[in-house]
Symmetry: C2
Subunit: 193 residues, 2 copies
């Protein structure tokens, strides 16, 4: 049997497995290479250092929800419901990540702490999607005309209880959905006002 | 010279000093008693356990800003500017605590983590003050009539970047005041909408 070609994606999948098994403190590039049945030199050909590999796997994890959210941001229809759907989809994706595999989530929290530039880029992408929704609402006359970039940032800040992993413990509280609805309702009225 | 009577307040002040000097991991009731020149039994007469003492000092620290904020919440005048003043006063108080004495702030972050019931009570007090402002705005017709308690909770959640110590590192960022203004503006329009 010819082995499958060693792609960056295969390396990143193996890295996630290794991180899950050994934890972020102990996982090494040699472990990743061993899991793939290749030399560690082969891994280094794709990712120049252990730090680069950890950064790439963090980026991949953060990007997982991008495509889905991007489709919501750029869908047709009125901006208000679209904004609410986007925020709800983000919250649902975060809850899934935190709830389905808490150990892997904790591992990624360590990686996120190590890769703040990657996290900053991710947040800018998220705020960029929010800005597109705000702009389309201003264009259609649904939202009062304000600085869409600043408004998008304010929406991001004002909803952080529902997307910042620092609040992950809150996401299974009984009143959390009502709290989410109350914040969304207030913000949407603010945009329309 | 007759020694000053051993009041709970004097014990709590000494406890804060001891925490500052030895750190939360090492500070003991014996250190507090020694700093006061009394026996540890005298301290235990006021606070039944080390845990009770740590809880009381945490409560005292959280309560420091209550009186000032409570006066803002119950001041005369229109509810909108009052709400903004209250949120600004809270943000200013938090920044002061975090910025003026970062080591003591870090110490209290450890204590806050140990005393979640005390923190929950503090948060309920804060949200109660917000609810009084919202109620007065609904009464005067400034704010649209909604559930003041739920609205107050939404205001608290939506402004957590500006009061939750988890974000303390953000409070010295260059754009933070503009971010605060953008969130406040959006929320105020939402209340009026």
């Amino acid at each position: 049997m010819t082995p499958a070609p060693l792609t960056p994606e295969r390396i990143l999948e193996a890295t996630e497995d290794v991180l899950r098994r050994f934890g972020p403190a102990k996982a090494t590039v040699v472990d990743v290479a061993r899991a793939l049945g290749v030399s560690h030199g082969s891994v280094y050909r794709h990712f120049g250092s252990k730090a680069a590999l950890r950064e790439a796997v963090t980026q991949r994890w953060l990007d997982l929800s991008h495509a889905e959210l991007s489709a919501v941001a750029d869908a047709d229809g009125p901006a208000g419901p679209r904004l609410r759907s986007w925020l709800a989809a983000l919250f649902a994706a975060k809850r899934r990540k935190a709830g389905d595999d808490p150990e892997l989530f904790a591992t990624y929290m360590v990686l996120v702490g190590e890769n703040s530039a990657t996290v900053d880029r991710h947040i800018e992408t998220m705020i960029g999607q929010l800005a597109r929704i705000v702009e389309s609402g201003v264009r259609s006359g649904e939202f009062a005309g304000t600085d869409p970039a600043a408004t998008a940032r304010a929406l991001w800040d004002a909803t952080n209880r529902f997307h910042d992993p620092a609040y992950a413990a809150d996401w299974s509280l009984p009143g959390i959905d009502a709290a989410f609805d109350a914040v969304c309702g207030l913000l949407l009225r603010g945009l329309q006002g």
